[in-house]
Symmetry: C2
């Protein structure tokens, strides 16, 4: 049976030693965070993930979610695990204390989330989406919703969903057909079909609060193919009153669940809204006057807030799956014997050496480890930037720019790498990896969804290149180049760090040139921006994780000077850092070369549509 080992030590290293959270009391989010508290939370979350969620991951995949007579049932053990999850308060960690939360910073939530997703992605998505939905309700809802609805979601008594996608509309929300018609009492009747709704129905909670985007028809009852009238609604499965009391069933019905490649224990639902009662969230929409330009409505903001958090969360799923896949591959290559070391048998008395003796196996293992630990550091750094945004620090605006810039990078680069790592881990098993019983192929199937949901990775790249690079005169990439560049300048004189600092400097220089290239070519020919976006995002991902590795290598080298009892941990960091420098940074010139190829040949593929 597959294993999972929660990387508690690594989280504590990052929070306490690399980012020194305890020393940053000026940031409101970190005011009451101590290393003892973090250790306590991470240890218990890790234990819960290992002992409660991981044991029902493979069985959940095998059994899958059920749909019978219009009702969804989760696999065996999910109900009990969910009850324990709520009792331990894992879903309430980062919610505000006044709504029943624990007021923990996003950093804690992300670490805990990573562990839960490693252990059981299909399970963790149920409370994960509830967290996103309650967060959106707190941001946009009326007081009674926050006090009497969101609180029940934070406790886990009720769940939440995000209802965006429709049969004819995923990436392109303009094409949405679901409509919301205002009623005399100020509520709306919501009608339409939403698909791919994770946790759209389940048997874990008494009620489900659907966060729905829908269009308000214009004065002539017409639905426009643009974003002007898209608004954000709360549509409960069972009706609620302002006191939070549950009433009769709302007209939201489950049309079915999807049969998917992976995350099979997660019920991905078709939801039919048939004049379902909904409450509009956010400010009253101002309908454009005839002839007036139709731009995105204010109601979209609530949804985007929810989606940004979700994008980071999905990026973390890439790390989660890579970590658990690595744990299992690690064990396998330390048990399985095949061939002899190329330099002669390591264990001549045994019939063969362990698989780990082979350089190519080590390459695959290190690829996973170098990604997982480097990406984890970058994710934590990004949550710290989020925390700085709410502080009085001089660099708070810069922190916001950086967090915003890196969100699509984390979503797409981490999930692409996570999928690759799951495959490499599977490859370590040889043919045995292909057998379902061994559990590792599930990680590949589960990891695959992360590259497409919450905005397919190509769309993330367009968000980065098409929106984030140019906004405010290029303020975000300039801030990025400045922050990383300064660190490198400060450390480039230390010859002992040259093996880490120089490669990152090389990568950063190329990233700077690539950024300039987009500034010059992207406006002239937007197709050039589109053609190179995916490569650019990867370039930024490699440089960003590389910078984290340079920082960790510096710290590890420093720690090793005092010959600490956990020297092996720091030595391991140096090896992983070196891997990134030797085998990932060399991608940078290749990516830039591809970017510079532009779009001409791609557009020649089919001139008629170019």
């Amino acid at each position: 049976m597959p294993v999972y080992r929660a990387p508690v030590q690594d989280f504590l290293f990052l929070a306490n030693e690399l980012f020194e959270i305890e020393k940053q009391r000026d940031i409101p989010d970190f005011k009451e965070v101590t290393s003892d508290l973090l250790e306590d939370i991470f240890t218990n979350a890790g234990k819960f993930a290992e002992e409660v969620l991981q044991p029902i991951n493979q069985s959940g995949d095998e059994e899958g979610a059920h749909f019978e007579n219009g009702v969804v049932r989760t696999p065996k053990g999910f109900k009990e695990a969910y009850k324990q999850f709520c009792e331990a308060g894992w879903g309430a960690l980062s919610a505000p204390a006044k709504f029943g939360g624990a007021d923990m910073p996003m950093l804690v939530n992300l670490a805990v989330g990573e562990m839960m997703q490693s252990a059981n992605q299909a399970f963790a998505m149920y409370p994960g989406l509830t967290g996103a939905a309650s967060g959106a309700l707190l941001a946009t809802g009326q007081p009674w919703m926050k006090e009497n609805i969101a609180t029940k979601m934070i406790s886990g008594e009720w769940a939440g969903t995000m209802c965006l996608t429709e049969p004819g509309c995923g990436t392109d929300l303009r094409l949405m057909k679901t409509k919301a018609v205002e009623q005399p009492d100020g509520t709306y009747k919501v009608s339409g079909t939403k698909i791919f709704i994770s946790g759209g129905d389940q048997d874990l909670t008494d009620n489900i609060i659907h966060m729905v985007i829908a269009k308000i028809p214009d004065e002539n009852g017409k639905i426009h193919d643009d974003l002007s009238t898209v608004n954000f609604f709360m549509v409960p499965k069972f009706l609620v009153d302002e006191a939070g009391k549950m009433g009769t069933r709302n007209s939201v019905n489950t049309g079915g669940i999807e049969h998917k490649m992976g995350i099979k224990a997660q019920a991905t639902c078709v939801l039919n809204f048939d004049e379902a009662k909904g409450w509009r969230l956010g400010p009253k929409p101002v309908l454009p006057k005839p002839g007036e330009k139709r731009s995105a409505s204010a109601g979209m903001a609530g949804m985007f807030g929810m989606m940004n958090a979700a994008r980071l969360g999905v990026g973390i799923q890439g790390v989660s799956i890579a970590q658990v896949a690595l744990d299992n591959a690690w064990d396998y290559v330390h048990e399985r014997r095949v061939g002899h070391a190329l330099t002669g048998p390591k264990e001549p008395d045994k019939s063969a050496d362990l698989e780990i003796v082979h350089p190519d196996v080590r390459r695959m293992i290190l690829h996973c480890r170098s990604f997982v630990e480097g990406a984890r550091a970058l994710a934590m750094w990004t949550t710290i930037n989020h925390a700085i945004m709410d502080s009085d620090r001089a660099d708070k605006d810069q922190a916001g720019l950086l967090a915003d810039l890196l969100t699509p990078v984390i979503k797409a680069f981490f999930t692409d790498m996570g999928f690759d790592c799951a495959n490499m881990a599977m490859q370590c098993y040889g043919g045995h990896g292909y057998i379902r019983d061994n559990g590792v192929e599930q990680f590949v199937r589960d990891a695959r969804i992360n590259q497409t949901y919450e905005g397919a990775n190509g769309v993330q790249a367009m968000d980065l290149v098409g929106r984030k690079l140019g906004r405010k005169g290029g303020a975000a990439p300039m801030a990025y180049l400045q922050v990383v560049g300064s660190w490198l300048s400060e450390n480039e004189k230390d010859e002992t760090l040259a093996a880490y600092v120089k490669p990152v400097k090389r990568g950063l220089d190329i990233l700077q040139q690539a950024t300039m290239w987009f500034a010059q070519h992207g406006l002239q020919n937007p197709n050039d921006a589109g053609a190179g976006a995916v490569d650019y995002l990867r370039l930024m991902g490699i440089v960003s994780v590389g910078w984290m590795w340079a920082r960790m290598a510096k710290l590890a080298a420093e720690k090793l000077k005092s010959n600490p009892p956990n020297a092996e941990f720091y030595q391991g960091k140096l090896v992983s850092a070196r891997y990134w420098m030797e085998r990932m940074i060399p991608e940078c010139p290749m990516l830039f070369e591809r970017i510079q190829a532009g779009s001409a040949n791609l557009m020649a593929l089919e001139p008629a549509t170019a």
Copy 2:
């Protein structure tokens, strides 16, 4: 429902125009091959693949193979399709006429095989393995086996398998435990457990001829952990006499079938041999005397012959899956509407443009097409080298070296790329790709096995670097560099071809340097060879396919001068060629940089086992 369009036109282009098979009558294999004959075979094979095999591919995956009461049953429709397959003689194509075959060259078999595998990999493996087994029997068996057993396999009346892997032994055959004890009548009693046996049992044929490797115990009854006594045996499911008459059941039993990630309609069996009657193939083994060095037995040769053909076949499976995944993605991006072209709406009267307008979607489509068509050319070129080996040409030895050198490259590079392409095709569907009904995720799951069976891809890379580079003083890589280099020299003066010739020259120069690097470092430190083997194999794959693209681009440019009616076909070739030059060749310097990083850091991962 998924589609498949057999690339008949492309096969004919390669055979008739690029390689001009009709003009090579001096090669015995091609003596009677005409373009009319090829067109007839390819068209009919394509039709069979499209109309008979493809329609039961998705249902076969959904239903899977069954195992009940010790008996295997294939999914609905497989029996009928198999009957049609045999009646049409698709399994007999390249077998010798005197044993009931059609005497077609390997080139034809590979093209037909590609189409069958595209349409239904799980199905095509049943006759595919039978072909490998009957080929081995023809190469190593006694006359009665060829005349009365192999003939029944060629007609498809009986099937065949390859029984190599055991629970404790896959890559490392030294560890094999299955033993074969000689009986007074010269036959053997074979005992042991074989796993991962494709087509190990099924309900398609009356009998199954298992080709089994097993160890003959030494004079003291001992089984050694080396290859010295490994021999090759024919072990039928039902006993046979020398006239080919079927008798009672042999003691070979199916222990179960594996539940796998993909190729679910293919029965992957555990076979238990319990003193099963077997016939030794090949020359009588000479047991080493006490104290004598124990080297591989002559019996291994038969198995390796079978495996080499199988490795090429698996490489083709990489192309097959990429082709069918591309076909489906192509249709999807021409139906699905999302967003507008970056340069402004292409169809302003529609709510959105087709997905194909987006540069990044074109990048994914072209990646697949450029791989599929370039790889197909390289595979055909390799089969032509096989054919040249049996001719009187001056370069027949060189042809053998080239075919041998490229076998692991085709197996590993094609299956890695095939998996990537299946994933890219799936990515074109966004979230819809993750839904089983849409069929594209099956391609990803099916494609994944190709990277591990018939020798995991890392093992292929070690075969290339550890065995094939150095053998006969480096004759194979020297021949390769000379052949490709000469072509480039002949064409480098043509400025109109510079966009194709120069990138390949760049790649070849790097490949040459990398080959030198291995010659210098690999002997000094074998771990350096192991650490860079996978990157080197990929480098050779990229350069080799690049060379095919340069040749095809030259031909296409030439053809376009006369403004042919199928100009679009040749223009498409130029676009695909350009893609490879712009976006694949730039990997070459990166791969060489990684190779030069060597093994030091990988071995530092865990010093205790290094």
